[in-house]
Structures are given as C-alpha cells and as structure tokens.
Symmetry: C2
C-alpha cells in the first residue's frame, strides 16, 4: 500500500464515506450477489417484447433450442460415432453397476435410455455422457441394504431405490431452483479426490465377490469386514472364475494403457468392455461354464422401461431411509456431474451454469424414477470417452439411448450367458482410473491441510463408510475455513527505502521500521470469531515492539497504524474491539491510526460511532500517508524519512 | 495499492519469494499462532535457573502469589467493604438461584463458600465476584428435570447436579489446558446479548410460580407452556403473595434505579435484597403468613459444606445426561465469566488470559462438585457491585466466603421464615437488568446480520428452549462466516488522476478506468468454498466490461490485473482456479496479471506451478506498476496515462 500519490492532499487524501443507500437497496444487492452472482436471466431481460422473452426463457431452460436449429450433418456424423462408442461402454457398465447396487441388471439398461434423452433437452454441457455411476450405486446398495435386504425382499429394495432416486432428483432440482448451487462447492477438490479414491477402493474390494465366485458376502463396505468375509471362506474360492476374471482384467488394463498412451486409439479401451462381454458370453456358452461355478447374468426381460410411478414408497417406515439415501447420493452424483461438465466445458471454452445443470440433472432423475431408472449423472469415464470420440453436441446422448433402446427391444437374450466375473473385471478396471495418487501428491506439495482433507476422506471411506468419509472431509474443510477466520495473520509492515511504500517485513527484506510508528496489517475480516484474538495479538505486537525499542534504546511506539486494506468485513464484535483497542492504547499514551479502510468498513465504523472516537483526522487512504503525518507530528529525527515523504509530496505536482 | 515507489526497478520491483522453510518449522509456527498466540509462558521462559522458573510457573498458575506479598492494609480495607457488600447480595441471590435450579436452598450458600476461595487463589481477575448464575441454574433445572423429577426423586436430582457441575469443571479446565479458549469466542457479542435477554425473560416467567404462589408448575421453560400452566390455574392464584411480591419487586426496582442514577449510592441496591429478605422474614414471622398461603424457605441445616465426592454419578443410565448438562452449562457459564472478567479488566487496564481463567473456573467447579456446590462462575451483577464497592484484589472473594461461612455456621435459622415470593422478586429485579434492549438497537444500526443473530437467539430461547436458542444463534453466526468466504466481494479498481494509486471505483468517485486494462480486487482468501464462484464472477466482470467498451467503441480488455493484496490465503482449489482462469483468458487473447501477492500466496503459486504458467514477469508488487507495464506494451494512446506513469518513474531518482 502507500505511494506518493495520495500525498497531494485534496480529494484523494480523504477516505470518502460511501453514499448512504436505503437498507432495502443494499439488502437486494447482497441477495443478488449471493444467489444470482452469474445474473442468469440477463439474456432474457435484454430481449424486447413478451414473445421474444418467453422464447429466450425457453432457450434458457432448454438449451437444445439453441443448437438444434443450426445442427449440421457434419456434427451429426461425429455425434453418431461418439454415441455408438459410449453406448458400447454404457451397456456393460450399466449392467455391472446395477449388480453393484444389488438391483436387477436390466435397470442398468433402463437407466441408459430415458435419462440421456431428458439431459439432451435440458443439459447445457456438450460433452457430458449420462449414465449410472459406481459410487452412487454402491451407496444405494449399502444404505438401503442396511435396513432392507435385496435378497430377502427384492421388490421393496427396488421400490426404495426408485424412491431414493426420486428424492435425489427433487433435491438436486430444488438446489438449482433455490440457487443454492454453491453448497456443492463445499465439496472441495481435495475432498472429491480422496473420496473418489476411497470409493473406488471399496468398490474394487466388493468385486472380490465376483472374481472369487463367492455366493455369500458381507453387506458392509469397510475393508476390515470385507477381508474377514473373503478369508473366512477360502474354501469357497472358484479357480475357474479367478482365472477368467484376472484374464479379462488384464485385457482391459492393457487396452486402457494403450489408449492412455495414444489418445487417438481411445476406441480400443472404449470398445474393450463390450468385447470382453461378448467374448466372455461366447466362452461360457461354448464351455457351459455356468455349470462349473461361473455365475452368469441369466434371463434379461425384453422390452422398454416399464413405468414405476406407482411403486414409489411415501409411507412412513422406509420413507426417511429413502430420503436420506436420496439426498446423500444426490449430492455426490451432483458433485461428480457438475465437476465433469465444468472441466470439459473449460477445454472447449464454453460456460456451464451450475444451477441450470442441477435443474437438468434433477429433472432427469425425477423422470427416471417414474420409468424404472435409478440414480444417473455424468460419469467421468464415459464423458471422457464421449469427448475423445469427438462428440459435438448432446445429440451423442440421444444416439446412445437409441442404441440402448434397440438393445432393450431385441438384444437382451444375448446377455444371458454373460459371466458376472467379466462385469467385475469391467468395474475394477474402471475404478482403478479413479484412484488419482498424483493428485494426492500434488496436494501434499501445495497445501498440507488439503492433503489431510483428502487422506481423511479416503481413510474414512475405506475403514468407515462412504458417509463417514464424506463427513470427515467436509468437517475438516469447514474447520479450516473457521480457523482461517479465527486466527487471521497479522504482520508488521516496513517502509521500502526511498519510497512511501509499506510492505510485509517478513516478505520484503529491504523494508525498514519507522521509529515511533508500528504499522500492522490485518489479513482477514474482523468478526466475532477473531475479535478478541486480534485484540490480544495486536497488544502483543505492541509489547514486543516496546521491549525491542527499550533494549535498543530507540524511540518507543507512539503511533499504531492499522492497515485495513485487507479487512473485507467487520461486525459489531469487530467495531467494539477497535473501540476497546483505541481506549487501551490511549491509556498507554499511543494513538491508533487506520489506513485504507473500505467503504463497507467506513460505514460500520461510522454507524457504531467508533469513527468519531478515533477521529476522522486519523484515517488515511494509504499507510504511506498515515505514517507521513505521524512522522511530521513526531518531528522525526530521521531526516531521511522526512525527506522521502516530502519528496513524495513534491513529486505529485 | 500502487505508488511510484517500486517503479524504480531493482529489488523493490520484484515480488520476493519467501525463503523456503522446512515443513516442521512452518508447522510448529502455525501451531504456536493457533494455540499459543498470547505466548503465555514468556515470563517463565525469561527466568534463569530451575528454581526461579518453577516460581514463575507457580506465579502463572496461582496469581495470588503476585499480589499477596505486596498486599497493603489500605487494599484490605477496600476489599473488606466490597466483600461484605457482595456477601449481603450473595446470600439471598444464592438461595434464590438454588430454588430456581430446583435444588435445596442451602446449596446456594454452600456454592458461595468454597468456589470463591479457589478462585481467589487461581483467578487472574481482580474484580470478578464468584457465585451461581440464574441462567445456568435454570438450565440445570430444565435439562435434568426433563429426565429426573426434583420432587419425586430429589436425591438423584441433587447428585446429578453435582455430577453435571463436575463435568462442567472438567470441560472448562480442559478447554483451558488444551488452549481451546477461542471456542468461547464463537459465542459472539450479539449471540450473548440475545441469549441473555431470552434467558432473563424465561427466568422471569418462571418466577410467576413464586409470585402467584402456585404449587404445581410446568417443567418446560418456553413461554407458551408457561402461560398455559399459569392461566390454566387462575383459581390457585394467591392475592397475598401477589401483593407481597409486587411490593418487594417495586422496592428493589426503585433501589436499582437510584443506584443507576448515582453510582456512588451503589450500596443501596446492593443491600436491598438482604434488606427485603429480612423485612419479608420478619413480616411473615409476625403475621404467621406461612399459614395463609405464603410459602417460606423453611428449615435450613446448620454447618459447612458436607463432602459430596461419593454422590457423583458415573453409572450409565444418567451419566450421559449429566455430561450433556455439564458441557452446555459449562460453556455458558464460561462465556459469562470470561466476558465479565475481560470487561472489568479493560476498565482497570490489565490483561486477562482467557485460557488461564478457564483453568481457574474449571478447578473451582471441580472442587465445588466435591463439596456440595453446584455450577458457579462470575455473575455480571455481583461483579459489578464488587467493582463499584471498590474491591482491589480477589481478596474480596475471600471476605465474602468468610461472611457466608459465618452465616452457614450460625445464622441459617434466621432464613426459616423467608418467603419464597421475596426470592422471586429478587430474581426478577436482577434479571430485568440483563435485558439490554439498547444493545439490540445498536446491533440493528451497525450490523443487520448481528441483529438477526441476536433476535434469533432471543426467540429461540423464549419460544423453544435455552439450547435451541444457542444452536440457532451459533448456526447463524457460523453461516455468516461461511457465506463471507463463499461470496467474497470483488471490486473494480480505478486510477486516481495524476497518481499511480488505484482505488475501488464504487468508493472513490474520482477514480478512472485505464483503457484496455481491467483491474479487479478480490477481498477474501481464495478457498474451495469460493473458487468456482470467483471464476464465474471474474469472467462476468470481464464480459460486462467488454460489452461496455464495445458499446462506447473503446479499446477492449487486453489485460486483467488481479489485486491479490487482500487475499489472505489460498488452497489447491484456489490455485487451480487461477490456472483455469489463466488458460481461459489466454483463449480470449487476454493476459492475466497479479499484483501484490503475499508470501503465503507466492509459495502456493510456486509449488503448484501456476507461477510458471502465468510467468514471473506478470507479477508485480503493486497495481500501479502492473498497469504501468501493461500500458507500455499497449502503447496507450492516452498520453496522460503514460505521462503519469513516466512521471512516476522519474520521481524516484
């Protein structure tokens, strides 16, 4: 701060009081900044006439109205390729994840038919490929399974899954409508990295059931009980399925490796799952391996999604369970979907409106829950394939759902002999991609706290449960924010020779103290959470400075300049803190001086009468000026200083 | 920001990278700043030799070792007067509050005997007068009463009260020992104002039982059920006790009014409660009013505190209840005690170590729970009397406890005929002082959010329960902090003519934009909670500026200067936000420039490789410099600007 600029008296030398605005105006302003920071309806409001406005509004809620009219054959070609590619991935993945959620495999296909169509109409991302995700599937299984067994009461379990999906959709959509999108932001990047890795680990562990061909398996997801149930039944392990599973897993990993090395060959890894499904099915069909301990999917019903509106459960006993499941899975699905949408939008340099996306994803899940689909969002793996396959618009989702529709109508019998172990292999190979250890290393290098958040989430998920991991991570993150507020950094500023600039002494080694003046900088808003800390910390700064000067026989502290430049806000605890500080400094014969307070601060100081108490004459736009005027009063015996500040004045003529 | 100072190239023109410190050092440093900001053991460490150090340590934990040796007869005289004054207040108040807590009245006297002695040894406040408080008493009654009836099972209720006190003490002391004092700071001033007023209202409502001479009364504290139980038994109302009660209430209020007007006459209001107790007792004794529906205290056991260690309940059924009660009441008592201690310390200009106080108050309650005392702290009313009576040291507490001891040994029979209605009157008159409506008005004038917090606490307490009120208030307060982080203010900075200073356009009307350069200031740390908001908000600033310039046919935005001066911290989400911002601006052909980042920020930017990406050459110590160099590259066609910045340079030779 500081600089000879303001020294030339006049308007600039005063810290202006912002013009008083009626309470309602400021209130409305704050409300807008809080809930409509992106000013979503600008495009609508700009239009003239009711008709054109409704059209703009429609375009806002149904983005396809924007690209559909200008849709070209070239774009369609690329979308066609992309759509078929992701369909070939969606079918096996869908079945696998449905198994993971302890739901009938066919639901995986249903869920890849309706939701993509809805998203194609309402979604604003060009690259998002809609489908079910492993983590949410696992969560549904574990949360619902805790109260309703999928094996003993499959119908109820299924209906609760639909209900949870419904609630998830309602929750997501209402978050968007209420402009509460920022709630998702509280799942920090670090949280998601750790959480995803943990979930992937857990999912892989669950696959041991399929790989080892076990019939009984624990319902809980933590590593301890999984290991127990695995090693408690070693005699049940099936070497056939182990061999088959590891074989396909190896194949899938090799293809992923190749595609990673050569992005051009993305289709190899994209087609690999379907290939292995076909290979596996054929193999089983020829060898009749289903009779030798290889479990297969079995009969899949032909036909499109049956309606499921009537099977939604709104009756007391299980409704709360469905609600809880819906909200938790909804948030997680939302976080992944929006993160994926944003990151691809960044590559192609277009904007994603978070709240709008929420409404789209929410609607897609609500309608899904009416048509026998369970929770869907935009999975990273599938969207990445979609992006690499060169999709141009959301049309690729339509293509995919058409492909899935054809499968549902005619091809379901082909999956009868598909061995479960192959699905397990597919899931594992997909999950391993989610364990992003490099990101964790990056976190450690950049920010230790974020690393703790990440590890906390990971361990919480792996050793506790998905919910525990989530809670741990969010708790640490919020605690960190609160700690930042509760323990703001205060630093001593020093003068940079031959200038009126003041900089942190610990950062700028050239900076020097001004005798008799202690310049302190507060780096956070002054709130109730840190007011009393700041009071004590500041008085400690003063004490230490007093000691130092006494030891060196220098001039003691006469002026305490507080640089308020970085103080973004202040509340009543803050103002009364300044009040007390002023009084206690007065008793010690020191003068408090404020530099560069913002309009917000000025307003508060004025209305709390602290401004009067300190006196307008002790408030300056810059530290440079503040110190200069203290200096004059002190008749500083350090001519250099006076020279400089004098120079500072002449400069500006 | 800005200033020709740095323009003279060389060292000052670079933003220095802070010297790399080993992780453990920074970690230790942060730990110290977080938990030992006041550096409590400085005095101990400064001493030479083990003996003198232990002495210093003893002095730290037992402050009386500091003042006792230098204690003078003059000081003793003032302390004697103060002590007797507060004793005359403590005896009736103690009995009243014990009744309020549904505990035997004698406990009020016990609790004014042991704890003051402990505090005199360990407390660092000279003005705090120890005793029981109405709010905590009410809380104990309501929380314990919810599960154990004081009338049906008095013994258990009593033992649970001791246990709760024990837990409260342990909790308070451990907060102090673990240096977690700042937790109390999260009860903001606004919270306490609203909470206290609400509690006072509730307590007054409870007194309707005594005033109306009712036998049955609701156990719940909310206004609705109290009013119900009052008006459901109008036929039970006793006009005698109503008359007596209102009479004494009037008397007490008049004395309080007088003392308020003439602080010299503090003793009038201080002596009033004891006077009314004596008057009331004599009146009842003469008129035998106890037979006409005036309830009296009845038999009080002679003798000092009996030990109560054995009656502490650590057995499952009720332990959790006692624990919960202890923690909640403990925090509230702590908040009041420390607030009181701090405010009086400010008047006399000495310092209170919050954590040390917690240890003192905690120990006092632990030992209290062993000697038949219940929760004590430093009540505001009593401490104020103590202060006005001119106390010099904690000795006044000793005097008080001696006076109480004498009462316990010889004078308890005198209270046999004391009418309960007088105690109710005493409580009400004390409570009315706690309803600080002026503070609420002040809150409204200064900070609307704080006002909401205050009202939220008040309504929560009055219509819900004390706990609900607390939760509401703390929730609003924390939400406010989180919102501040989630929605930081970003402002456009403009150049102040004929200088290189840049100030907020909305505050400084003289400030002007620099063509082709958009200067933005971020007013908060860049954390996961606001990273994506900031990205969107900044791009919106740019869009709007682009539109404006296009409409006016001015030069479009070429440079976006981010003033990081007020950015106190950054995490990985923040760094990756800057990363993305840089990339997306590049695509739009704009250059991002950082001004005045702190050492913390520089470190993070460096370790996250964002510094490389942006390039050292685009990081400047001040906005002035940043814009100046952009200007040169732009070959700005606005000579004025170049002139200025050039001038800025010449100035500094």
């Amino acid at each position: 701060m500081g600089g000879s600029g303001e020294a030339n008296g006049g308007a600039a030398a005063r810290v202006p009081m912002p013009p008083a605005r009626p309470f309602l105006d400021t209130f409305r302003g704050n409300l807008k900044e809080t809930f409509f920071p992106d000013d979503p309806f600008r495009s609508v409001v700009r239009e003239r006439g009711a008709g054109r406005r409704t059209l703009a509004a429609l375009r806002y809620f149904f983005p396809f109205l924007e690209w559909a009219p200008a849709y070209t054959l070239g774009a369609f070609k690329s979308d066609l390729i992309a759509g078929i590619t992701i369909a070939s991935l969606a079918i096996p993945q869908g079945i696998s994840y449905a198994k993971l959620a302890n739901l009938p495999p066919i639901l995986g296909l249903y869920s890849s038919f309706v939701p993509p169509l809805v998203y194609a109409l309402m979604g604003s991302s060009k690259d998002l490929a809609v489908g079910t995700v492993a983590v949410a599937s696992l969560l549904i299984a574990s949360m619902l399974g805790s109260q309703v067994s999928a094996t003993e009461n499959p119908a109820l379990h299924l209906h609760l899954a639909f209900t949870a999906t419904f609630f998830a959709g309602v929750f997501q959509a209402s978050l968007g409508l209420l402009r509460l999108g920022f709630i998702v932001d509280f799942l920090s990047h670090a949280t998601i990295v750790g959480f995803m890795a943990g979930a992937a680990t857990v999912v892989c562990l669950q696959q041991l059931k399929g790989i080892l061909g076990l019939n009984r398996f624990t319902t809980s997801t933590d590593i301890v009980s999984v290991m127990e149930s695995v090693f408690s039944q070693t005699h049940q392990w099936r070497w056939e399925s182990v061999v088959l599973g590891s074989g396909f897993l190896f194949f899938l990993l090799v293809t992923r490796f190749i595609s990673k090395r050569r992005p051009k060959l993305f289709w190899i890894s994209a087609a690999a799952p379907l290939t292995s499904v076909i290979l596996g099915s054929v193999l089983v069909y020829l060898t009749h391996a289903e009779n030798h301990g290889i479990q297969v999917i079995g009969y899949l019903k032909k036909g499109l999604n049956p309606p499921s509106v009537t099977s939604l459960q709104f009756s007391p006993p299980y409704m709360t369970l469905a609600l809880k499941t819906g909200i938790i899975t909804g948030v997680i699905a939302l976080a992944e979907g929006i993160a994926v949408g944003r990151s691809f939008a960044m590559f192609k340099n277009y904007n994603i409106d978070g709240n709008k996306e929420m409404i789209a994803i929410g609607t897609m899940n609500i309608l899904g829950s009416f048509t026998s689909c369970y929770l869907t969002t935009g999975p990273f793996s599938r969207s990445a394939v979609n992006y690499n396959a060169g999709c141009k618009t959301a049309m690729s989702n339509v293509i995919m759902s058409v492909a899935v529709m054809i499968t549902l109508l005619f091809l379901t019998p082909l999956f009868h002999y598909t061995p479960l172990v192959v699905l397990s292999a597919i899931i594992i190979s997909a999950m391993l991609g989610l364990i992003d250890y490099q990101a964790a290393i990056h976190l450690w290098q950049v920010d230790k706290v974020d690393f703790c958040v990440c590890i906390g989430a990971y361990l919480g998920v792996v050793f506790g449960s998905v919910e525990i991991g989530l809670v741990v991570a969010v708790a640490i993150s919020i605690l960190r924010v609160l700690l930042f507020i509760a323990r703001p950094r205060t630093t001593v500023l020093g003068n940079i020779p031959n200038s009126m600039i003041y900089r942190r002494m610990d950062q700028y080694t050239t900076a020097q103290m001004v005798p008799g003046v202690l310049v302190l900088r507060v780096d956070a808003p002054i709130y109730f959470a840190n007011a009393s800390y700041l009071r004590e910390r500041i008085s400690r700064w003063i004490d230490e400075e007093e000691e130092r000067t006494k030891d060196n026989g220098e001039m003691g502290v006469q002026y305490v300049v507080l640089d308020m430049g970085a103080v973004g806000g202040i509340d009543t605890s803050g103002t009364s803190m300044l009040d007390e500080l002023k009084k206690s400094l007065e008793r010690r014969g020191m003068q408090i001086v404020l530099a560069n307070p913002g309009s917000e601060i000025m307003k508060k100081l004025d209305s709390s009468k602290v401004l009067e108490l300190i006196g307008h004459e002790w408030i300056f736009p810059t530290v440079g000026e503040a110190v200069a005027s203290c200096d004059y009063v002190l008749h500083s015996h350090k001519p250099g200083m006076v020279m400089d500040s004098a120079a500072g004045h002449e400069n500006m003529v």
